[in-house]
């Protein structure tokens, strides 16, 4: 099963140039998660250090009190970054809207890989920065739209 993760992770643009051994060390650090539609993968208010790489399926970001989902996520998304990066509790929940396959990385594993395998660390930090840039642009647009 874990060998199957390698080509799926390779589809993330940040990981496409990693060597086979480096990609294997990334796979080694990942925990695989399979969820069905309706299953919650992140709980609002929880404190944990998991960062999720969505390999297959779709996830929805929902927040208590919000009438609509905050975001819909597809393969290639890096999910749940803010809480581990900032050390905050989860600000929203993430629910699978269809069967999904996720690679889960502990924030501490990211730190360790960043120290021990510079190419993997660079790839991971690039994936994180790319996702945060997308989030930043989305938030900026939403703010501009809503504030007129």
């Amino acid at each position: 099963m874990r060998a199957e993760l390698q080509p799926l992770l390779r589809e993330f643009s940040a990981f496409e140039r990693l060597s086979e051994p480096d990609l294997a060390s990334l796979v080694e650090a990942c925990r695989e998660l399979h969820v069905r539609a309706g299953e919650r993968v992140i709980e609002e208010g929880a404190v944990d250090g998991d960062v999720m790489l969505l390999l297959r399926g779709r996830l929805s970001v929902v927040k208590s009190g919000a009438p609509e989902p905050l975001a819909q996520l597809g393969p290639g998304a890096v999910v749940g970054l803010l809480a581990p990066v900032l050390g905050h509790p989860r600000s929203a929940s993430v629910v699978a809207t269809e069967r999904s396959q996720i690679a889960v990385l502990r924030a501490t594993s990211i730190e360790l890989l960043s120290l021990s395998h510079a190419p993997v660390g660079l790839a991971l930090q690039s994936a994180i920065v790319s996702q945060l840039l997308d989030d930043f642009v989305a938030q900026q647009r939403a703010y501009a739209e809503r504030s007129g």
Binding site: L86, Q125, V129, L133
Partner: protein, 155 residues
């Protein structure tokens, strides 16, 4: 005893970007401080002439500047950038920067990490590149979080 020019630049970098010292050792912050091109802009001066594109990551050490969006990127709103802010992070992760220039509102000092400098950093000291990205990710995460909080406060 007087501080050398390099020491002043390193101190400025550390003060403007305190997150760097959380991700890098003092010696590595010092090495980073020696890299990148130092650029000074006078009031109303543009970093890149019209038709050009931001050369890479720009760290603002002092002054106030406004970014100019690239023609193919919608201008959401104009905002003023100051010390401790970065623009053009996209260039470090293989993307095209969303802005094509910066105009100084007053005398400003920048550090420019173009593709050549970044390539040098990746090749010679990849651990510094990792720490640098880590610090930028932390800064970005704080900005995303602050924007999300502002959005929640909107009626």
């Amino acid at each position: 005893m007087f501080a050398t020019n390099t020491q002043v630049l390193v101190t400025q970098l550390g003060q403007a970007f305190p997150r760097l010292s959380e991700s890098l050792s003092p010696a590595d912050v010092q090495k980073l401080g020696r890299m990148g091109d130092r650029v000074l802009l006078l009031e109303n001066e543009d970093l890149v002439p019209a038709g050009g594109r931001l050369p890479g990551l720009i760290l603002i050490l002092r002054g106030r500047l406004v970014p100019r969006a690239a023609p193919d990127v919608p201008e959401e709103h104009r905002w003023v950038l100051g010390p401790g802010e970065a623009i053009g992070i996209e260039a470090l992760v293989g993307r095209q920067p969303r802005h094509d220039s910066l105009r100084a509102l007053e005398f400003s000092e920048l550090r420019v990490f173009d593709a050549k400098v970044w390539g040098h950093l990746l090749e010679r000291t990849p651990h510094i590149a990792v720490g640098f990205l880590h610090a930028l990710a932390r800064e970005l995460a704080e900005e995303v979080d602050a924007l999300a909080a502002s959005l929640e406060r909107l009626p």
